[in-house]
Amino acid sequence: MESQTGQKPKHNVKKKKKILRSAIRLFKTDGYYNVSIEDIVKASDSSTGSFYNYFGSKDELVISYRRELLNSCHIFYKKLQKDSAYSDKNALNKLQLLTVHILELLSSVGEEFGRVFTIHRLKETDAVPEDKPYLPLIMELVKSGQEDKSIRSDYSTREIAEIVDLFIIGCHIDWQIKRGAYILTESKSNTLDILFSNISSSAEARKPKEMYFDEIWADAMSRTTKDFSSDIKLLEDQWLERLYGNKPY
């Protein structure tokens, strides 16, 4: 345990990256579930000890790699803001480019990688750390889009950012469920165009007739539906009674 107290080797970042890269390469060629930690150690020219020094498990490696991967969207964001190639784009265009970039990053590691990550998040009850390093960037772009009037302002900055975020997640999960049967960014480009035309300020201008959605929903809920929970409560009471007799429990 002494090694944990401070003096880690200097190039541990390099070493960690090497393990990560080799593991991802193996996952892609052989499939996540067919690759053992031993295989990863061999391919990366390291040791089991150092693998566990950086990652507790294969799952953790996936999480760690995903974070690194998504963090790289900061680089793209900087380019969007500074590079003269994008200087004629408004914030809405930039937001769409960033969204495509995120989808590209997510698809670059393959659908199985995505599934392993999603399953881990659904299964483990550990606190969820920062999964969305791209979210602040989306918020920034929405905000400047509402300022330069390319993005609608009848929804709050957070609401629009959330719409884009959940859309990205939804696309990614659909792609995972279909086991990568289509090319993520290509087949969703039409869908993206629709989404972005709807968050543009011109969508706000062509505001349709008021539909009173929340009121009709509240109204509909006031008249539906059978609730099974009371029946089950009754059964449960009967069951407890059989187990414990009539004694209060």
């Binding site: 696309c171 469920i177 279909k178 869908t191 059964l235």
Partner: protein
């Protein structure tokens, strides 16, 4: 249309229903993995043998239940068309109500159920198409879109298929977000604005 159901058949259906309800109740309360077939049989006041009469495994029961959701969608759909209370609503409003109902029903059984369901769809191996087949809700939604396009409340330039598939993408994202948060918020409350946003975006323009 007088299909005769014998008393025995009805009894058997009721029994099956009871087993499924009790199982779902226990899954939600104790977690899928911690509930045994014994527990389910006991709560349903039934026997293990009778459980195996209907299902070969917990997993099969689970799949059956997912299909049973389609029945609930259908019930709501019917009332949208028939119930006089909904007669004044246009196609788009009905589409909104149906979508919100689907979202609420998917979440009504607790986040545990939803998580098991999603993990099942994503686990190692090929796409389990037969189970994830969204046909049930798909047909109903596409019917409502046709009504909306006919009464002029829904845009005609968007293909029906695109409208539904994009809605499902949002559903995926919303459900995931909710599941990861361990069901810590009410979906239809938190994401009502998102559904609204979506429905307005497929609405016909006001002249």
């Amino acid at each position: 249309m007088t299909r005769k159901i014998t008393k025995r058949q009805r009894k058997s259906e009721e029994n099956k229903r009871k087993i499924v309800d009790c199982a779902m109740h226990l899954f939600a309360k104790h977690g899928y993995d911690n509930v045994s077939i014994d527990d389910i049989a006991k709560l349903a006041n039934s026997s293990k043998g009778s459980f195996y009469n209907y299902f070969s495994s917990k997993d099969e029961l689970f799949v059956f239940y997912r299909h049973a959701l389609d029945t609930q969608y259908m019930e709501f759909f019917k009332s949208l068309l028939r119930d006089p209370a909904y007669r004044i609503h246009c196609g788009l409003q009905k589409f909104y109500l149906m979508s919100a109902f689907i979202l609420q029903t998917m979440s009504a059984n607790g986040d545990e159920f939803a998580r098991i369901s999603d993990m099942r769809d994503l686990k190692d191996g090929p796409d389990l198409k037969s189970i994830r087949d969204d046909k049930g809700s798909y047909t109903l939604l596409s019917n409502l879109i046709s009504i909306g396009k006919a009464d002029g409340s829904i845009r005609e330039d968007l293909p029906t298929e695109v409208i539904i598939n994009n809605l499902y993408l949002f559903f995926n994202g919303i459900m995931y977000d909710w599941e990861v948060s361990r069901g810590s918020f009410n979906i239809t409350e938190k994401y009502a604005y998102m559904l609204e946003f979506y429905c307005y975006s497929i609405a016909n323009q006001l002249e």
